[in-house]
Amino acid sequence: MPQSTSIDWFPLWLSLRVAALATIIVVTLGTACAYLLSHKQFRGKNLFDSLITLPLVLPPTVLGYYLLVVIGRASPVGHFYESITGAPLVFTWQAAVIAATIHSAPIYIKAARAVLESVDYRFEWAAQSLGATEWRTFWRVTLPLARRGLSSLGTLAFARSLGDFGVTIMVAGNIPGRTQTLSVAIYDAVESGNGHVARILVLVVSAGALCLLWAAAHFSRGSRLTTAG
């Protein structure tokens, strides 16, 4: 019994916070990217699509390395961030948010593109021929019709953000009480032979993931609305 009191729940809260922020970023920017890919023709579209897919195939260490280069203290981005906040970006929980975003964005964007493409174009044409701007058509027609599909994907993106390990440990490190997320904490517990903590955290992660998958399946029901007729 006394063992259970020694579990530090900070990684769980940190992971939830990181995943929530990453999901907000992914859903906002990801939906915009998915809309561009599904509705626009532009030069370099295939290259853009490939760049978005790249994190899916690259090893986490490679991604982490790139991120360290891009957001490190010596980089323009890192320098800019430090000049505003007064502290470096790497090895903070904010860096973990970036890592989680990179981890879940590709899958979200790819699937969201398919969801947006599945909205019957005639609804969008109807809105436009009535006089609606593209912006208004998106908010009043496309998005409501894609809402269920995108909610389901948002839930999956949250689940995926929760589970990032490789990139997070590269750019946010493993600082207990500051940047140690759930998956890093499990790794840490196994490494240090603390099987009891590892077991409990693994169960928590598994149960959470199961709930999220169930929620995603629930959201994706009824997406028949997206076709005319």
Binding site: A126, Q128, S129, L130, G131, P144, L225
Partner: protein
Amino acid sequence: MGGGPFLTGFAIDYGRMNGTPEPIVEARLVKRLPPEQDSDGFELNVHLRTGPGITVLFGSSGAGKTLTLNCVAGFARPDEGRILVRGEIYFDATTQVHIPPRRRRCGYIFQDHALFPHMTVRENLRFAASVALVDKKRPLLQRRRVNELLELFELGELAARTPAQLSGGQKQRAALARVLAGDPRLLLLDEPTRGLDARLRSTFYDVLQRTRERLDIPVLLVTHDLEECFQLADFVCLMDRGRFLQAGSRETVFAKPASVEVARMMGIHNIIPAEIAVLDPGRNGSRLAVLDSFLDGPYLPGHLIGDRGWLCVREHEMKVGTEKNPATTNQLAVRVLTTSPVAAGVRVHFEGDLCVSVSESDWQEFRGNERLWIEIPRSAIYFIG
């Protein structure tokens, strides 16, 4: 459809529309679609001129009807040409003008209506009224217009329903009401009665005719249904493989098809080879050699004796009998080949590619005869050279 004051929110410029000789829509369109895996290339090349009233683009599927509509609405960009609607340029290839669909004010009714499924009928109309270019910032006027349209199209009790809860005919009325809420300059209808039964079709024709009488908005309607074309059209453009075969008033196109192809599209089944044997301008008559006999017809200006062509006769203008009618000379004795059942009775197919539909009771009288006499009145004879 009730009476009373109609659509006070509308600002219709009747003065410009009535009695103006210039066309309301004038479109020269050339649009090429590259060959794809499942289709050869396609080229649309038409010159569309429409006046007030209903213009029907008629043709089989794949003729380019919907593509023409999409070009006018702005959803397809022609490769060459120019589109003018009431003198305003919507598209011009040489000056690279392409007005976006939202600024063209074309009330487009799509196949399957495309009512927004996540909105109620009232919300669909409100959306249309709120995004329309006119009266954008006058919510009271918009609300009034929506209410008037709901009443006009008998949608008042259905206003709180979503499209999924409406029947086919109700959806159609809602779709028409929605485009009218946007105060369009032109109505574009893409096979609006597809999938509806005969009764609902006729109700829709009625609604459309009344709308047209009250609002005087020109309509461009796409269909492959001959009956629909005949019922609704003031002006017909016959399309085939991206071209207009013939364009003109309904009466002209139906009575005087310009080619055998058009005659077939107009539902004339009896097209038989004929040769001009006699031309008599004095008596305003002609004599045609058809299937080893002669038929008297009207004078055929612009033709010469010996010209070969095709005789076109509509089924309902021919009379069938078991014996020769001594009162007339325009008769052919033809051998019966086969019969097939049709809604009105029996269609009898004769030698020489002739066919006539007769009632079931008449057929009982005729059956057993190897040959029957077909009478073709002089007025029914139409020759295509």
